[in-house]
């Protein structure tokens, strides 16, 4: 391996990467509670796919201007659109609504619990366009629904690894079963760090290009420790010992010494990366041997990572110092001659 060159390798097979199609049914199921969504009419269209995460307010479309209309988005009817529909006469209203409903949009959502106008449910059923209602105010709903949609359309992968927050950094411990991921995490928890997920971790690429890690239901907050069995982390260590979703900053791969050998760079000059969900995440490969204090290793690696992120690279700094002294010695030597 050439020195100083970033080297990348995949995490897992990548076969578990999913980008599921989001149907209105799935959006409704996930948003029923947090977004207070309910289905009013048009249930036959619940299998419609929502191709885009962004939402659209169809004010101009209702007024008749369909150029640049975004038919692939969920359509939001807020106070503004609702008031406009109330302002125009009944017959005109039905005509405007018919034009909107006939555009094959994924779904139409009426916000802040506003009343449905006569004929809306019939139009929804006839065009098989799901008509949904929420009690939440429009701008709050748009923010929350956009986040939910981005969550649903983003790339996901479930990986075998333990996620822990160490000094504010999100660290994913990976390595073969039985190598000591959970035991290391246990030691870190005792030192005041917080567990995100043990053993099985859901990674998700979010809209801003970060990878977020979270536990997978139903095992959230539980750990398996060989010899003890399953423990419930907040019961044993307190609520501060766990945390929810956390950004992934660093992968630490625990390996048997023989397997780690090709990755060991005694100075730390080479930067390793893992390819995860199309992004590169820095990685440290640590040989696990009896007597090595893994907790201390993880803490130190995280501190070193933070220093590097701030621009201080110990191996390079030392290299500069050694080179400077060499040059000085050479100069002195020349003067003596």
């Amino acid at each position: 391996m050439p020195d100083g060159v970033p080297v990348s390798r995949p995490l897992g097979s990548g076969a578990g990467e999913l980008r599921e199609k989001v149907t209105v049914e799935r959006f409704l199921a996930q948003g029923r509670e947090p977004l207070q969504l309910r289905l009013v009419a048009g249930g036959l269209g619940l299998d419609r796919v929502v191709p885009e995460a962004a939402l659209n307010r169809p004010g101009l479309a209702l007024a008749g201007f369909f150029r640049y209309f975004a038919p692939h988005r969920l359509q939001i009817i807020g106070k503004h659109e609702h008031a406009y529909l109330g302002h125009i006469g009944k017959e005109e209203r039905i005509g405007k609504l018919r034009r909107l409903f006939s555009r094959h949009v994924p779904a139409i959502i009426v916000c802040r619990g506003l009343a449905m106008y006569d004929g809306m449910s019939e139009l929804a059923d006839r065009t098989k366009t799901p008509l949904l209602s929420t009690g939440i105010e429009t701008h709050y709903f748009i923010n929350a629904a956009t986040l939910l949609m981005e969550d649903l359309v983003g790339l996901h992968e479930v990986v075998h690894g333990t996620m822990i927050e160490v000094f504010g950094q999100g660290v994913l411990l990976v390595g073969e079963a039985g190598i000591g991921k959970s035991e290391t995490a246990l030691g870190l928890i005792k030192r005041g760090h917080a567990l995100v997920s043990d053993d099985t971790t859901m990674l998700r690429r979010d809209s801003s290009g970060r990878i977020m890690a979270a536990s997978v239901e139903p095992i959230a907050d539980f750990m398996e420790i060989r010899g003890i069995g399953i423990i419930h982390v907040p019961s044993v260590f307190g609520i501060a010992a766990i945390r929810g979703e956390k950004q992934l900053d660093l992968v630490m791969d625990l390996e048997r010494p023989a397997d780690a050998e090709p990755y060991i760079d005694r100075t730390g000059e080479t930067t390793w990366y893992r390819d995860i969900l199309g992004l590169r995440v820095p990685e440290v490969v640590v040989p696990v041997a009896p007597g090595r204090d893994m907790v201390n290793m993880v803490e130190t690696a995280v501190c070193e990572y933070k220093l590097r992120a701030k621009g201080y690279h110990a191996a390079r700094a030392l290299d500069e110092r050694v080179l400077a002294r060499n040059a000085q010695i050479l100069k002195l030597h020349k003067v003596e001659i």
């Binding site: 075998h160 099985t200 997978v216 139903p218």
Partner: protein, 91 residues
């Protein structure tokens, strides 16, 4: 060369703590990498917690892949365990 076989969960309650524990313990005996999959959700067969995220009730077909020097033995043993309802007498 990895080997893959499908197994149907026959025990009454499907995958839960005891079957997951028994399966993980068995898988740990083998050097092969063992993956258990339900639909697109894949976890390590050596992971008790991972197996419980499969949310697999009785009747679920699990796709098990073993990759390593003892892959065939591993799949045979897993087949026996699943067929014997994980050795849980009351299921």
């Amino acid at each position: 060369m990895a080997l893959t076989r499908d197994f149907e969960l026959l025990n009454k309650y499907g995958m839960h703590v005891r079957p997951a524990g028994a399966l993980a313990k068995l898988c740990q005996k083998y050097r092969s990498d063992i993956t258990v999959e339900k639909e697109a959700h894949a976890v390590s067969g050596k992971s008790v917690l991972g197996l419980m995220t499969l949310e697999a009730p009785c009747g679920t077909i699990l796709k098990v892949t073993a990759d390593g020097p003892d892959e065939e033995d591993a799949l045979d043993a897993i087949g026996d365990l699943v067929e014997n309802r994980f050795g849980i007498l009351d299921e």
